[in-house]
Symmetry: C2
Subunit: 285 residues, 2 copies
């Protein structure tokens, strides 16, 4: 959990093509409801996960704040100081660009299903059509995905001169695509034609009456991938090099056209079922 | 409250002699217990107070995070990027230096007493020997003090070449003095001989059986002053110039000697009763 929280923090810099992170502050609150024993068990694990993620990113926690709160809270603040050619402004997409997504969607649902299984809440699980093993596998795959750093995705943004990017988190893929299209210098539309989604999770959401609005693009992600707009002549090279480094698929999910600052998912969107199996359980740094 | 929270955030930079603040992020959580009406009344005020403090400090809120939580939470992260001659390392105190404190102590107690008065908790207030008007005046004085920026105190640190500084917050004056003495390059002691304390607050704590340990130096402060070590030839000039700018007293409260990295308050410590009356209700920027 500490690793994923840290990864979520530094990912904002990765989305700017910043792959050298100078400093990280950790914000942590323990729960006022914890016993001393619970606190001693949980907090060191959270803190070491957070620290380990910093090490993996080539940076360090050098300060922060700890406090007490009814809920456990975990976050941070990452800083880099760079010259202009070491980051990518997120506003330079062009008509004809392709849209790339570097991690599959569905983390929120996978985590929720696993929680329901822990709570033995079979009523909630039934409509998903997933058995216990499916749920655990989905959770493991989501965890691997959330732990994967966007660092390489970020450095390749500079190498292949990506025009704009954001990381996909709380607003879902469409929410972030909309935010990104609104801040472009040119008046553009982002058209999303494919959605790579963790194995069986799209069907599970269908079964639940699309409660999470995953295929509509609104299901929240934690520590999601980068969504980037890139010249079509560079897109294949970006995908190939990142795939070689990360060991899992990277997807061209759509295109950029002249337009009116709208992001849409086409009605006949293609769902790509992403199996992250045991062999791929290698955290990409 | 927003102003004071922001001031508390940026004060960490002021304690390094940094008086130009490049960027501020605001961290805010609304309470899950608020009604919409309460939220609409409280949050805009907090946010505009936070923003106004940034403007007063010559900087701006350029990002941050908002969330929901049982308790309202408020904080931030301030950043400056500077060359070495634009800040003061906190580890260069010398034997013979004088210790200066730029704000009076007692804010935590003043705020607590005011809360008890709001709650009509007369049992708690009785031993303080303060009447209602005293409590309100103490609270007003504490508010003025907490709202006062350490910006001028900070720029004068560079002008008069202060050797080390910290801001006095959650650990109380002695806690922060101890932290500061431990990080000095030389083996020193910090001897505190005077404690400037908001009007009647020291007596109030005495009446309560020293519940807050104010005179022992452990009562927490919010947005407290700077505690700094400075060459004795510069101390009077620093005090005079900051007093002229801020309009209230600044105090030489002790001295630095060779020693064993210990901060102490002498047993016969002199309490300075600091009246911040109506005429002095000018926020020092």
């Amino acid at each position: 959990m500490g690793w994923i929280a840290c990864n979520n923090v530094i990912s904002d810099l990765y989305a700017m093509g910043v792959s050298r992170i100078d400093n990280v502050l950790m914000l942590l609150s323990t729960s006022t409801k914890f016993t001393t024993k619970q606190e001693d068990a949980v907090l060191p694990q959270i803190m070491s996960g957070f620290r380990d993620c910093c090490f993996a990113a080539g940076t360090q926690v050098r300060g922060g704040q700890t406090t007490r709160n009814p809920w456990v809270l975990l976050g941070g603040c990452a800083t880099s100081v760079l010259s202009k050619d070491n980051f990518v402004l997120p506003n330079g997409a062009k008509p004809g660009d392709l849209l790339i997504l570097t991690k599959p969607l569905g983390t929120q649902i996978a985590v929720n299903l696993n929680q329901w299984l822990d709570d033995e809440d079979t009523d909630k699980l039934k409509p998903t059509g997933m058995n216990d093993e499916d749920v655990r596998k989905g959770y493991d795959a989501a965890t691997v995905s959330m732990m994967t750093l966007n660092r390489k995705a970020s450095s390749l943004m500079r190498k292949y001169k990506a025009h704009a990017a954001t990381d996909v988190t709380g607003f879902g893929i469409l929410g972030h695509a909309q935010n990104l299209v609104e801040c472009q210098e040119e008046e553009l539309d982002f058209i999303i034609e494919k959605l790579p989604i963790l194995n069986k999770i799209a069907k599970a959401d269908d079964g639940m009456g699309r409660m999470f609005q995953l295929v509509k693009g609104y299901s929240a992600e934690t520590s999601g991938g980068l969504l980037l707009a890139i010249d079509p002549n560079e897109a294949d090279k970006y995908v190939a090099e990142l795939k070689a480094a990360n060991g899992h698929d990277i997807w061209i999910i759509g295109k950029v056209t002249s337009g009116s600052r709208k992001a849409t998912i086409i009605p006949e969107v293609k769902i790509i079922d992403v199996a992250l199996d045991e062999n791929e359980k290698i955290i990409s740094l």
